[in-house]
């Protein structure tokens, strides 16, 4: 189905079809858990894990699934991996698991994942689906990383829990509140659009 090269299949997730900045998908975790870098990173990696493995499984069994039960099957598969991720975090990283709270189980309904299954994995080979999932995951993780870096540095004056701003700095508490998430995401989207416009007009 897809006519892109393997490289393009990967890089499209980073910019052209970046799930958050270009497709505006998965905004719920993007806004909710990016107050601290460690949470953003954990959320990104958990989502990536689910996306990558669901894509592999779906693309393997795509021919067996009748289209009438495909959504049900995809959701069961996704939910399985989400539960695995949830249990894993609870067992080995209880603090992060507590911070992320309900947002790990909510990965089930993250549009990025079901969207990729419907739009890509169900039509493409295992290899391509894997590359696509890797690209989309990297795009998602990078976006969360940028957003949570901005929010943690400004909102707490720390990075990954280490103090990076001097004692003169008063944390902007708004940045770790929901309002700060919207502000930071809005500015990030604006910058992304601006870059997009600039590069486009140069062609």
């Amino acid at each position: 189905m897809s006519t892109r090269s393997i490289g393009q299949e990967f890089t499209k997730g980073l910019w052209n079809e970046n799930p958050v900045l270009r497709q505006l998908l998965g905004l719920c975790p993007t806004l909710a858990v990016t107050g601290w870098v460690i949470n953003g990173l954990a959320m990104g990696l958990a989502t990536s894990f689910v996306l990558i493995f669901s894509s592999i499984v779906v693309s393997i069994i795509k021919k067996l699934i009748p289209s009438q039960v495909r959504i049900a099957s995809y959701i069961v598969i996704i939910a399985t991996f989400v539960t695995v991720a949830d249990r894993f975090l609870a067992a080995y990283f209880p603090d992060i698991s507590k911070d992320l709270g309900p947002y790990v189980p909510l990965i089930v309904v993250n549009c990025i994942i079901l969207g990729r299954q419907e739009a890509f994995s169900s039509k493409n080979s295992v290899g391509r689906s894997l590359i696509d999932a890797l690209g989309m995951s990297s795009g998602f993780v990078l976006t969360l990383l940028v957003l949570s870096s901005i929010r943690e540095i400004l909102g707490s004056g720390t990075y990954l829990g280490h103090q990076v701003m001097g004692s003169w700095f008063t944390p902007w508490i708004i940045m770790i509140l929901p309002a700060g998430a919207f502000l930071a995401l809005g500015i990030l989207l604006g910058i992304a659009l601006h870059i997009e416009k600039k590069t486009k007009s140069r062609i």
């Binding site: 067996l64 699934i65 009748p66 009438q68 039960v69 049900a72 099957s73 069961v76 598969i77 939910a79 399985t80 539960t83 695995v84 249990r87 894993f88 609870a90 067992a91 080995y92 209880p94 507590k98 909102g155 944390p171 508490i173 770790i176 509140l177």
Partner: protein
């Protein structure tokens, strides 16, 4: 007909496989998850009831659990009440330590809170809030001192300090504490809690 059979078979087997997979994962992680939870509670009891060596669960209800802290000899030296209640933003979960006669608080620990950072979240702050909760007289309802004072000596025996600018969060904690002490007293009176009956271990 063939398609219908295929639909049933596929979805059922997806369910079967996912169920088996999850069962395995559940068993593999169960022990650790429970261990984590237990450790957290235990660490909190040791903090709120000084001198605790081991603990037992004495009573359990929704959002209200009572643990007993025991010293080396195995005698009960205090209660740790793990309780949740509504704060300014969301649920506050805290553990209150009291002595065995329920007349004095030993210490307060905030387990989980989502209060406004910088204001209400100061209920986790040792110097501003928590240190004023040590050794308060809880034989009667504790009250809030407004406006805040500098040192614990300025407070009356059953008074705690308020947080400047976060009266609602301070009041929420106070309410949770007063209610839970009252509830525990009632439970002891009714004989529902006795010395170390249900051992956790």
């Amino acid at each position: 007909m063939k398609l219908s059979v295929q639909m049933v078979v596929v979805l059922t087997s997806v369910g079967l496989l996912s169920g088996s997979f999850l069962a395995t994962v559940g068993i593999l992680t169960k022990e650790r998850v429970e261990l984590n939870k237990q450790r957290e509670v235990e660490a909190a009891i040791i903090k709120v009831v000084p001198g605790t060596e081991s603990s037992t669960k004495l009573y359990e209800a929704k959002d209200f659990k009572v643990y007993g802290g025991k010293n080396q000899d195995g005698t009960l030296i205090g209660y740790g009440i793990l309780v949740s209640g509504i704060g300014f933003q969301d649920k506050i979960t805290l553990m209150l330590g009291t002595d065995i006669s329920l007349t004095k608080t030993t210490r307060l620990e905030i387990i989980e809170q989502k209060e406004t950072p910088g204001l209400g979240a100061k209920i986790e702050d040792e110097d501003v809030f928590l240190k004023f909760w040590e050794g308060r007289d809880c034989s009667q309802a504790i009250s809030l001192r407004k406006p805040a004072v500098k040192t614990a000596e300025e407070l009356a025996a059953s008074e705690v300090n308020t947080i400047t600018g976060a009266t609602i969060s301070s009041e929420s904690v106070l309410k949770i504490v007063n209610n839970s002490v009252e509830k525990l007293r009632q439970l002891i009176k009714e004989g529902q809690i006795q010395d170390g009956e249900q051992d956790v271990h």
